[in-house]
């Protein structure tokens, strides 16, 4: 299932400058794995011990995945997955 992933500026150094890319996957975890296959250095930036680092937020169509099933959250064909730093605001 093809989904669009939006990459924040802080990670574009490891995505060859790409701000947006398309990958296949049925869950957030699968989408991220597909992304890590493409950009090898990305994994360590946002994951630690197989989990997302605590200051990384991931959204599926604007919804924080912690309101869903975390990395198991399903992504529908054509939806948008956004990775963002968590330390903004307040």
């Amino acid at each position: 299932m093809a989904v669009t992933v939006k990459i924040p500026t802080q990670l574009r150094a490891v995505t060859d400058g790409e701000a947006e890319t398309e990958v296949d996957g049925g869950t957030v975890g699968e989408v991220l794995d597909a992304l890590f296959d493409r950009y090898g250095d990305l994994r360590d930036r946002i994951c630690e011990d197989g989990e997302l680092r605590r200051f990384v937020n991931v959204y599926v169509s604007g919804e924080d995945i912690r309101f869903g099933d975390g990395l198991e959250t399903e992504v529908a064909e054509g939806s948008e997955v956004t990775i963002l730093p968590a330390v903004a605001g307040g």
Partner: protein
């Protein structure tokens, strides 16, 4: 020059002092690092006491090479001894730090003064923010004063008073159909695409430093001594943790002696991710969908949640949550015992103070400071229908007969 670099709070990687807020290695938050090794404590204290009556008297502890000038006069707000409230709650020495007495009537003037001075220093022409209301007021006003273009993003359901008190300054006011966390996500995305100074996104490390001045002022107003306990609201957790940081810096330097105060965080039950994590013994917060009258604290995804939990736990304090009815009662109690009218966030703080006092958590000999972060005129709905007014004709007889009906016999003549 004391300011050194930006440093990741998680992995300690250092970065130059430009507009950035995230560690590229681990996504942790960046914080300003200083080198105080050359500082002469007696000299610094003299300099503070001879400084301007604003937050710039603490400029040695703010992220600038030379002290910024101008700006709206922020800070040096009253620390009010609250004996009647203390008596009501069965407490000893109680003070209200009334930060409603700032140019746009909330503590946000502190963080915005620092962020805008930094934005100007870094050469930005546009400033912006994601706001729950108070920050909107402050960014719009300080940008107008500085002659900078501004964009202010707010949740569409914000209190009318806060919307009006933002729009008047001539900002680009963007109401987003969503809650604060949606606004914040949007602004995080926008900040990557536009070369703007988002005060609480890409300038957040500098912005957050402004809240340390609350600690400095409290300490200076107490003749360079510490309170035993601080009760303050938690939204993102930035204010709460930076008050702790301010005291800690002065303790390390020897400007203050003793121990860090006990820190009690205050949240509304309708948006209490930090209080829930505290109660569950967790280190991280699960996001929530806010539903509370304390809209200035309605952040369901608090950026500094883990650090707020650390501070509360390491100082023997805690984080409590109070209901909307307790918040309304807190606003009334503060008004009727101190003459200070606070917005709903202050009601959260006072209701939490009341809860702590009721539980017996506060010793009778403790010196307590409750931090009131905003003005009651911004959330007037809290006052509506909470009292009756007398309606009379302009006649002495009418007044006396109305009074006889309402005031018990034997009251002061």
């Amino acid at each position: 020059m004391a300011i050194e670099s930006l440093r990741c709070k998680e992995c300690r990687t250092e970065y130059p002092l430009d507009a950035r807020y995230v560690c590229e290695q681990c996504f942790g938050p960046l914080e300003v690092a200083y080198d105080y090794s050359d500082l002469d404590v007696a000299e610094v204290r003299r300099k503070i006491q001879a400084g301007p009556r604003s937050i710039w008297r603490y400029s040695d502890f703010l992220p600038f090479v030379s002290a910024p000038r101008g700006s709206l006069t922020t800070g040096t707000t009253p620390l009010v001894r609250a004996d009647r409230l203390a008596q009501h709650l069965g407490l000893g020495e109680l003070y209200i730090k009334n930060d409603a007495a700032n140019p746009t009537h909330s503590f946000k003037d502190r963080v915005v003064s620092v962020a805008l001075a930094k934005a100007i220093e870094l050469g930005f022409e546009v400033v912006a923010c994601a706001s729950t209301g108070n920050l909107a007021n402050a960014v719009a006003a300080h940008a107008a004063h500085a002659g900078l273009e501004s964009y202010v993003f707010i949740p569409a359901n914000l209190e009318e008073q806060k919307v009006l008190a933002t729009g008047i300054y001539g900002t680009n006011l963007v109401a987003v159909n969503g809650n604060y966390d949606d606004v914040n996500r949007l602004c995080t995305e926008i900040s990557g695409e536009h070369d703007w100074a988002f005060v609480n996104v890409n300038l957040r490390p500098y912005y957050a430093e402004g809240s340390k001045t609350l600690a400095y002022e409290i300490a200076e107003q107490l003749a360079f001594t510490l309170p035993d306990r601080v009760v303050a609201p938690i939204a993102s957790g930035s204010l709460f943790t930076k008050i702790g940081r301010g005291f800690a810096e002065w303790l390390e330097l020897g400007l203050l002696n003793g121990d860090l105060p006990t820190f009690n965080g205050a949240q509304a039950q309708g948006c209490s991710p930090v209080a829930q994590a505290y109660a569950d013994g967790r280190d991280v917060c699960k996001p929530v969908r806010p539903d509370t009258i304390a809209k200035s604290l309605a952040i369901g995804n608090p950026a500094d949640g883990p650090y707020a939990l650390d501070l509360a736990r390491s100082t023997g304090g805690g984080v409590d949550a109070v209901t909307d009815d307790e918040i309304r009662a807190g606003v009334r109690l503060l008004a009727q015992t101190t003459g200070i009218f606070t917005e709903t966030a202050g009601g959260v703080t006072i209701a939490t103070l009341r809860k702590l006092a009721g539980r017996g958590d506060i010793g009778a000999d403790e010196r307590v400071v409750a931090v009131i972060t905003g003005e009651g005129l911004k959330t007037l709905d809290v006052a509506r229908d909470t009292f009756e007014r007398w309606e009379i004709e302009p006649s002495l007889d009418d007044f006396e007969s109305e009074r006889a009906d309402r005031v018990p016999a034997g009251a002061a003549r």
